[in-house]
Symmetry: C3
Subunit: 159 residues, 3 copies
Amino acid sequence: LAEEHAKRLQALEDREAIRDLIARYGPLADSGQSAAVAQLWCEDGVYAVGGMGEAIGHAAIAALIDGLLHRALMADGCAHLLGPLAIDLDGDHAIAWGHSLVVKADGGDYAIYRAAANRWTLRRTLAGWRVERRDNRLINGGEAALELFARVSGPQPAN
Amino acid sequence: LAEEHAKRLQALEDREAIRDLIARYGPLADSGQSAAVAQLWCEDGVYAVGGMGEAIGHAAIAALIDGLLHRALMADGCAHLLGPLAIDLDGDHAIAWGHSLVVKADGGDYAIYRAAANRWTLRRTLAGWRVERRDNRLINGGEAALELFARVSGPQPAN
Amino acid sequence: LAEEHAKRLQALEDREAIRDLIARYGPLADSGQSAAVAQLWCEDGVYAVGGMGEAIGHAAIAALIDGLLHRALMADGCAHLLGPLAIDLDGDHAIAWGHSLVVKADGGDYAIYRAAANRWTLRRTLAGWRVERRDNRLINGGEAALELFARVSGPQPAN
């Protein structure tokens, strides 16, 4: 019984850790904490940003945050807002699915600058859950985002 | 003690399952997976969409997603984004409260097409938690949405 | 072992309670439930709203919701939408970090009226978790919001 409880606790803690990890992305990105953003990923992690190629590894991911485009967003004022996550947990691996918006200040107004479909592929490392790969695909009626979310499955099996 | 722990685990798993179930709505709806969207609901489930009547049962709910209006949204590019949920859990029944936005691509820009107040009434089935009824009421200053959220209660009792 | 399980359960319940508490803010604020909004805070709680000073204590927080500005938002139709939370839990104290948007109806359209960075400082009371202080800082390219989110840390230690 204690062993079964331990397994159930672990699954809950895993989901919680994954949710917490990904929830840090927005505040860290908004404030330009490039090293901390990169540490959400594994050392060899990949961040594939729709329309902007793939950043591979911590230095490349940090460089996205330190880059001109991101710095210009920060100068205007931006919110990297995420939606809720559907999480497929499978032992030491997981996939989390959800939306992201970039909201940009524009004088006294705000505009949605990007809306994207996201798949976060994660694995358990010695240091805890980390992102192996984030696929971010712009929602614009094109196939890329549709095809990504077409892989999300319906209700998960009951405990 | 083990029995008390089992109860607490169950309550956490129930909340997690409800959150995960509802988090699947957006990606499934965005990608037009009408059958999987319908399966979030009980067989006799109801989806009452503000200003669009009630869809009752899996076939009717799937038909909403397969319908012209939804297909037009998908052709433009859309994000059915949900906010966080406040969950009132009561044994095999639960009510979850939260916002929904439909963000629509418009060329290179994005606009919020709908903002709504939602009440998700759920029950535990043999297959897991499912939606009995989703009430979605357009936020427009009218009574419908205000009246729905006026039923949300303050802080829940401590464990 | 049972003691260790109890500790892990408690930590999960604490995070869940904090997330549920904060998720009630939006629906309660949208529907003008000023007393219930105030009860999310401790008796001596502080709500520091960017550009609008500090409300201290239940009566002052309720007065914000009952005030002219908030009532005008409600008359137009508004959604106080929150993003996901990164939660730093430390015994009977916690800090939660995340975005907030105020979406406002404008005839048949919607506009984002405010986007803000939030730090929620919480403590466990006899009645459960309550907000000690919410710092809400407008995202507009200025230092206030950047400085707040610059204090968010990277991945939390593994369990």
